[in-house]
């Protein structure tokens, strides 16, 4: 199982990136060296998302900048993100777009092993020291030591809230240090008629964020990764404890958590209907798209400590980037575009279009970081171990088909927890070896 080694080697991978990002601002550009061999031809690019999303507009802006620089036309199409992920293997075996936004971890490495993704090690090499060694390591396929994704951005999963809402309630989430503090905060927000802990799990993956963090807080990063790779059992009392904690949050959730997806959660926060929300901070782009005031009001803090032994030493921080299809019509063009995405010009174009993501590259001028981004870095910096999120830290036929429905069943009927966990373990045991 490729992920086992991946899990260990990836420990504290991205922390270096965070520090690198802060420290190496404005490092020398190595891009001049690659302009000798010219890549030509139209490049097709898949955007994961709706065209109306703020993120899609940023994607198009970067692709436009590439066209401006090279004269190569980029044809972008937006595809529903879940559909693209679900049909990924089929799409890649057909006539896929040359490049596409993608995510590091199991979803890249397993497909690279199957020969569906093009090797972009040369492009990673060209980007050179602008990418921290840690980020490159996070993007490396442990099976062959090559990279199949140009890492561009990453984001922390944490507790998000609106500063104004909390101030109105006379609360200060910056002070939630322990589990009891979190419960008290949820109680207080709920008492004022707001949703205490916003949850939307209709998509089946959203609740994984809460599961991940409670497991890492209670049992530590190593146990979490081992559990996801079959070295620990779901029937373990330690896992039951995670669900017991999760169960304590259910009374504070909006009652319709199986009716809304992550974007419903986002809207709860956007419309000031909720107190805290456990989510990856990528959605901040949508706050900025709504208004600068909404964006400035958004804040993130680390999930509080539960077990003093582990403190707040772990976090989910998925690494995103651009991958190139091995079966694309213009593989070299795809690679060139992917490299552009990781270069200073690409990042500048994204930032100019309103991107609030944290870029891996040291070319990204951290002096332009706004307060929220600095806070994101602080949240990341507080962690020693970085997970990629449950559906990237474990095999794909386990995350979606088994853990997703199990979490939904648990949220629906928390009393069935023992039966649910026994079943998850049984389904893991029934999986064929990779």
């Amino acid at each position: 199982m490729s992920d086992a080694t991946n899990g260990i080697s990836r420990r504290s991978v991205l922390k270096g990136a965070a520090i690198g990002g802060l420290g190496l601002a404005g490092g020398g550009s190595l891009l001049a060296s690659c302009s000798s061999k010219k890549v030509t031809g139209d490049v097709h690019f898949t955007i994961r998302g709706n065209l109306s999303d703020a993120g899609s507009k940023i994607n198009i802006a970067v692709n436009d900048a590439y066209t401006k620089k090279t004269g190569n036309k980029v044809i972008s199409q937006a595809v529903n993100s879940d559909d693209f992920q679900n049909n990924f293997v089929q799409i890649m075996q057909g006539t896929p777009d040359d490049a596409f936004g993608w995510m590091a971890g199991w979803r890249t490495n397993a497909r690279a092993d199957a020969g569906l993704l093009a090797d972009v090690s040369a492009q990673v090499k060209t980007l050179g020291s602008t990418l921290s060694a840690a980020a490159v390591q996070g993007a490396t396929n442990p099976a062959d030591g090559k990279q199949y994704i140009i890492p561009t951005t990453y984001y922390p999963w944490g507790l998000h809230y609106r500063k104004s809402t909390m101030t109105e309630l006379g609360l200060n989430p910056e002070n939630i240090a322990t589990w009891d503090d979190l419960i008290k905060l949820c109680e207080a927000t709920q008492k004022k008629g707001l949703v205490g802990y916003a949850m939307g799990d209709k998509g089946g993956w959203e609740a994984m964020g809460t599961f991940d963090i409670i497991n890492m807080r209670l049992n530590g990063y190593q146990f979490h990764i081992d559990l996801l790779n079959g070295k620990e059992k779901w029937t373990d009392a330690k896992v039951l404890d995670v669900f017991t904690h999760m169960g304590q949050l259910i009374p504070f959730m909006n009652k319709n958590f199986l009716d809304i997806e992550w974007d419903g959660c986002r809207d709860l926060l956007l419309q000031k209907k909720a107190g805290a929300m456990m989510m990856g901070s990528w959605f901040a782009n949508d706050f900025l798209a709504k208004s600068q005031a909404d964006y400035d009001d958004l804040w993130i803090v680390p999930f509080p400590e539960i077990n003093p032994e582990h403190g707040i030493d772990s976090i989910d921080a998925p690494l995103d980037g651009v991958s190139v299809a091995a079966n694309g019509k213009n593989v070299e063009g795809g690679k060139d575009l992917a490299e552009f995405w990781g270069s200073k010009e690409g990042i500048d174009a994204a930032v100019a279009a309103g991107d609030t993501s944290i870029y891996i590259s040291s070319e990204f001028d951290t002096s332009t970081y706004d307060a929220f981004n600095k806070q994101k870095l602080a949240v990341l910096g507080a962690a020693k171990n970085i997970g990629f999120f449950l559906d990237r830290d474990t095999r794909g036929d386990f995350a979606g088909p088994v853990v997703g429905p199990a979490l939904q069943s648990f949220l629906k009927n928390p009393k069935d927890v023992t039966k649910i966990l026994e079943n998850v373990q049984a389904q893991w045991d029934a999986l064929p070896a990779l």
């Binding site: 679900n86 075996q93 199957a114 209709k202 319709n256 199986l258 209907k273 939904q408």
Partner: protein
């Protein structure tokens, strides 16, 4: 052109020129070939693959798994039984509620009750929409922040839980699916009713039969071919249900159906051929009752 049965065969054989024969062969041969290539061959491959482990990429990686995928489904996947239950509910609902309603509507419209043209149009409109579109429409209506929630004055935080409320969502989905199915059945039945000789009904009326007796003893038996089609359509529609639920729930299996499981497990996430095994189970379920039914029907016709 009328011929006596005696010389019919001879004349037909003679009238087939080389050209005719070629045309006939092409008309029968090409569809048969396409049927084999695009239907029977993939079905056969699916059946074979259901006994293997494979990630669907390199043919060389296929590994024999025996009955492991089936064992996994029957003994290790509780969501399978939930899906089976939902498919069964779908079938029962369509058989005992939606289809009879469609027949009732057709019968009333055929009797030219007041405003029958209007009813016909109203109930027919959903039939032109695909279930996927119907899913989009009703999802938009009921989801938090949707139209119906807006009418009730609910925002996202206190929206009435519908798709995620497991004491009602099954009935809501059935209602939405019936919205189209009733019109579909009505249309089919109406076409059949038009072909029933009105003198039969007049005769039974003169003999003093009630409306119900006429329907049961006269109309229903004369409509036998349409009835068969409707039974088959009802079974098939219930087993192949997918698009409506996929639009609402995606592959999260929050309201599983067999077809959703086929899709979820085929979608390239896995390395077992569990999806193929689900497809085979579905195939058996589909083929079984239909073959049985058609056989009994043909037997009776031969008598």
């Amino acid at each position: 052109m009328k011929t006596t049965p005696a010389n019919k065969n001879i004349r037909r054989r003679r009238s087939l020129s080389r050209n005719d024969r070629f045309t006939l062969a092409a008309f029968i041969g090409i569809p048969t070939l396409m049927q084999i290539i695009f239907l029977w061959l993939p079905a056969l491959i699916t059946i074979i693959l259901s006994f293997t482990y494979w990630n669907g990429i390199n043919v060389g990686d296929i590994k024999w798994a025996g009955l492991a995928n089936y064992r996994n489904i029957f003994f290790g996947t509780p969501v399978f039984y939930e899906a089976l239950k939902n498919n069964a509910i779908w079938l029962l609902w369509f058989t005992f509620i939606a289809t009879p309603l469609g027949i009732l509507l057709a019968y009333q419209i055929d009797r030219k009750i007041k405003g029958h043209k209007l009813f016909e149009t109203v109930f027919y409109i959903p039939v032109v929409l695909s279930l996927a579109i119907i899913g989009i429409i009703w999802n938009f209506m009921f989801q938090p922040g949707g139209f119906v929630q807006g009418l009730m004055g609910r925002d996202i935080s206190n929206a009435v839980s519908i798709w995620g409320n497991y004491s009602i969502n099954t009935y809501v989905i059935m209602g939405v699916a019936s919205w189209r199915h009733i019109g579909y059945i009505m249309l089919l039945y109406l076409a059949g009713l038009k072909s029933v000789d009105p003198s039969l009904r007049e005769a039974s009326a003169i003999d003093g039969a009630t409306e119900w007796q006429t329907f049961r003893k006269i109309v229903l038996p004369t409509m036998r071919p349409v009835n068969i089609i409707i039974v088959v359509i009802t079974i098939i529609e219930s087993l192949r249900a997918f698009d409506l639920v996929y639009i609402i729930y995606g592959t999260s299996t929050a309201w599983p159906l067999l077809n959703i499981l086929v899709f979820q497990n085929f979608a390239g996430q896995g390395i077992s051929m569990k999806g193929a095994a689900y497809a085979v189970i579905l195939l058996v379920l589909c083929v079984g009752p239909i073959l049985l039914y058609l056989r009994s029907v043909f037997k009776e016709d031969l008598k």
